[in-house]
């Protein structure tokens, strides 16, 4: 039962991703992407990582995707963008990316083949994660905080100029 759920979620994740990336309309694509992320969250949960699953839903499917929604709303993409996107998905443009993606996939498959085992089946609770995170990984946490701060400053800077300039342009 659980295994069926797992493979079902896997199929949903994959198909939703493919659909997301082939849509011409950005809003539609975003909905499919959220679906894909939710499916991955299910996978996390089934693999015994409830904390990761929660974060996937909260931050990935929640916060980050909401950012995308905001930007798409602000840009107000029209029909012309969709036409352009459709022409971009023409068959002859697929050749080189297709070959490279296949190559990459084959390589990854080759790497995966080296190991052969089952997942442990034991769940790792958020408490363990927290202890580990603020124990040996405290330096990584600090680095991540710095990265987020940089992202914050950068985003503020870029966005502020956008807003002020567009106001003064009018």
């Amino acid at each position: 039962m659980m295994e069926t759920l797992f493979y079902l979620a896997a199929v949903i994740a994959l198909s939703a991703t493919i659909l997301a990336l082939t849509r011409a309309n950005a809003a539609h694509a975003l909905i499919y992407l959220i679906l894909s992320l939710l499916a991955v969250a299910v996978l996390f949960f089934l693999m015994g990582a409830p904390f990761a699953a929660a974060l996937e839903i909260l931050i990935y499917a929640g916060a980050i995707m909401v950012l995308f929604v905001f930007v798409i709303m602000m840009l107000n993409l029209g029909k012309s963008g969709e036409e352009l996107e459709r022409s971009g998905l023409h068959a002859r443009n697929w050749i080189i990316p297709g070959i490279m993606a296949t190559l990459l996939f084959v390589e990854l498959m080759y790497a995966v083949e080296q190991t052969s085992s089952l997942t442990s089946g034991t769940a790792v609770s958020p408490k363990e994660v927290g202890l580990e995170l603020f124990g040996p990984y405290v330096l990584a946490v600090e680095l991540a905080s710095m990265l987020l701060l940089a992202g914050l400053v950068g985003a503020y800077h870029l966005g502020r100029r956008f807003i002020v300039r567009s106001g003064s342009d009018d």
Binding site: M47, A52, L75
Partner: protein, 104 residues
Amino acid sequence: MGGLQIPLEHVQVLAALLFSCGFLGLMLRRNIIFMLMSLEVMLNAAALAFVAAGARWGQADGQIIFLLILAVAAAEISVGLGLVLQIQRRFKTLDMDTANRLRG
């Protein structure tokens, strides 16, 4: 709650497939927003691989790496979307084939 016992390879194949899909999207799409989405997919695929590895050993490290990837994704997307706004304002388009003014 007890975890599921499934072959690690299956999860890894799924992660590889998702990664390749993201890569294909990155290469094929011309709209910067779709390119950013593709990046998110690729990061997510990597995160899946880590969590699966953590589950294989029953250790917290996989989830911790997931957390870090999350931080990277958040930072990347906030700056990336800021750039999207700038690109739209400067070039009046999101088509990265026409917005190539950084040519050396």
